[in-house]
């Protein structure tokens, strides 16, 4: 839509994992974990009806297996979206674990990543999806997509916060937080202007900047976790709607 709709190409994780450079590989996997661990964890909890401890093990194990079996390298962007591929891999992983009853071995040799499962569990408690509808493939896909968007937006908000600190624009982030993140229906530009003792135009400018940066960051992150330009464009529309041309 705007010029920041399609940020400058960065290496997709799909390409980066094939890199000979271990630093690049590690960065790619970090990016992938950051965007997907919560959706995968919540998905395993709901789709496979696993208690929190099992779901934590399975999530860790899934990402460990992804490394061991180089699942990302086998991904073909022409066949499916990365998001769908990972969900199906997660399904297959859980089923295989059940069959082989290898739970005690799961992730045994892999390094566990520090993941905040407690926070994910707390979020899951507030999940709005109807448990009765879980078996429907459509609702599963919808649920996974919703969690994926949430995860990506949360990362983008965190990146924006850091950017504001680096650029000494903390006030812009606080305004963004108050107006766009708080969910306060009573909030208004005027109220914020009074609260911060600044002109309303400053509030407008700060929010415009923050939203523009938020969008840019989210799209940059998205590009990293897409396997192709076409997938990126499709997923960008999922993220920001049809006007993301």
């Amino acid at each position: 839509m705007t010029g920041d709709a399609f940020p400058a190409t960065r290496w997709s994780v799909v390409d980066a994992v094939k890199s000979a450079d271990p630093t690049e590989q590690a960065r790619a996997l970090d990016t992938l974990f950051a965007a997907y661990w919560k959706p995968v964890y919540k998905y395993v909890r709901l789709r496979w009806n696993r208690p929190p401890e099992d779901a934590q093990d399975l999530t860790q194990g899934f990402f460990a297996e992804m490394l061991e079996r180089e699942l990302l390298a086998k991904y073909n962007p022409a066949k499916s979206k990365l998001r769908t591929y990972l969900r199906l891999c997660a399904d297959s992983f859980v089923m295989n674990q059940d069959k082989a009853a290898h739970r005690h071995k799961r992730g045994g040799n892999a390094t566990h990543v520090a993941l905040d499962f407690q926070a994910a569990e707390g979020e899951l408690a507030g999940a709005t999806i109807d448990a009765a509808s879980i078996p429907s493939p459509e609702s599963l896909d919808e649920f996974f997509e919703k969690e994926w968007v949430r995860s990506l937006f949360a990362l983008a908000v965190e990146d924006l916060r850091q950017l504001c600190v680096e650029q000494e624009r903390e006030r812009a982030f606080r305004l963004f937080e108050a107006y766009d993140l708080s969910g306060d229906p009573e909030i208004s530009y005027q109220k914020l202007a009074v609260e911060y003792a600044i002109p309303v135009s400053d509030v407008t400018n700060a929010l415009s900047w923050a939203r523009r940066e938020f969008r840019r960051i989210a799209l940059e992150r998205l590009r990293e976790i897409c396997g192709s330009e076409e997938e990126f464009r499709r997923e960008a529309r999922t993220l920001f709607g049809p006007d993301t041309a």
């Binding site: 705007t2 919703k146 968007v149 949430r150 908000v157 766009d180 135009s201 939203r211 709607g241 006007d243």
Partner: protein, 343 residues
């Protein structure tokens, strides 16, 4: 990391996408449609208390030159005051740098939907001549539309015909009052597309690079399709109008099914001439094309068709059916009387 509720995710998505109209006199009401160059929203003009169509362009905020050019061209289009052209009310810049225009909010139907209810060929042709009037007016002011197609024409509730979406318009020459040092090759301004209908489903128009235009397949002239900007002129719009005329004449449940094929041949000849591959072979002006259609409507010969004797006889019969039948009846009666008295 902060947990984002569903509501917050929706709000973030909306705020990161919707134009921020704060500081303008407009209040956003709803998204209406996506056009070739941007998104059209319904907005409320707080100052004049009226509903307007507001189009936000897909222009990078950082591209100041392009935005300035769009602004200048919007001003030129705003002076195209014609009942068949949607007027531009206002031009402005959003806080994120994107350019927007506000225009009259048109209630009505797109031409392609509207003609489903118009089953008379003459009525369709009269609609066409009114489209020609608007385009001819723009041409007289040095403005090309470059994206004429059924989806870009609206028919209002009182039958008014409005040519929409001047998003790919090209200004050939500026009116004297607006003469400036700016690039005369510059392009693009617009009016709302399909303001009260769902988003256009025809293949999207696009603009690339330095104004190289890709119109809509089936309606764009060969020179446009080649991206041959130097040869895009009034005759390129005439090509599109020819294609539009062919669309209007398509045999879709026309009520006067007695329209003989010979008459359609004349119309087909007009369409063929308007859509000639070589621009020099097309009509010289939109007025010529419109006059030709009017001549057809009046039962007069059209320059695009070489009439055979039979064609001419049929045309004359169609045009003078009543007098011919009256004379024939008179002659028959007269003959019968003569025969009767002769006995």
């Amino acid at each position: 990391m902060k947990f984002l509720s569903d509501k917050t995710v929706d709000r973030l998505r909306q705020n990161a996408t919707l134009p921020d109209l704060f500081g303008t006199r407009y209040r956003l009401l709803e998204r209406v449609a996506r056009g070739g160059m941007g998104v059209v929203y319904a907005a409320h003009d707080e100052m004049l208390d009226r509903r307007v169509a507001l189009k936000v362009l897909d222009v990078p905020a950082a591209d100041g030159d392009f935005a300035r050019r769009l602004n200048r061209e919007a001003r030129v289009l705003a002076r195209l005051e014609h009942p068949g052209i949607v007027p531009v009310h206002d031009v402005g810049t959003l806080s994120d740098g994107r350019v927007f225009y506000t225009m009259k909010f048109v209630e009505g139907q797109r031409l392609d939907k509207h003609i489903e209810t118009v089953t008379s060929l003459p009525e369709r042709l009269r609609l066409f001549t009114r489209i020609c009037d608007a385009v001819a007016f723009a041409h007289a002011r040095g403005v090309l539309h470059r994206d004429l197609k059924p989806a870009n024409v609206m028919v209002g509730p009182f039958g008014e015909v409005l040519v929409m979406d001047w998003g790919l318009a090209k200004i050939l020459r500026e009116p004297p009052a607006e003469a400036s040092e700016d690039d005369p090759e510059a392009t693009i301004v617009h009016s709302p597309k399909s303001v009260d209908v769902p988003a256009d489903t025809t293949p999207a128009t696009q603009i690339t690079g330095q104004g190289t235009v890709l119109g809509t397949p089936g309606y764009m002239s060969p020179e446009q399709a080649r991206g041959d900007i130097a040869h895009v002129n009034e005759r390129s719009d005439i090509f599109s109008l020819g294609a539009l005329l062919r669309f209007l004449c398509a045999p879709v449940a026309l009520a006067n099914a007695n329209s003989p094929r010979r008459r359609e041949k004349a119309l087909e000849a007009i369409c063929a001439k308007a859509t000639e591959h070589d621009p020099a072979q097309r009509y010289a002006s939109v007025s010529d094309l419109s006059s030709e259609v009017s001549r057809y409507l009046d039962g007069l010969p059209v320059s695009a068709q070489k009439e055979s004797l039979l064609d001419k006889a049929v045309r004359l019969y169609r045009r003078y059916t009543v007098p011919i039948l009256l004379i024939a009846a008179y002659l028959i009666v007269r003959t019968l009387i003569l025969i009767f008295f002769h006995r």
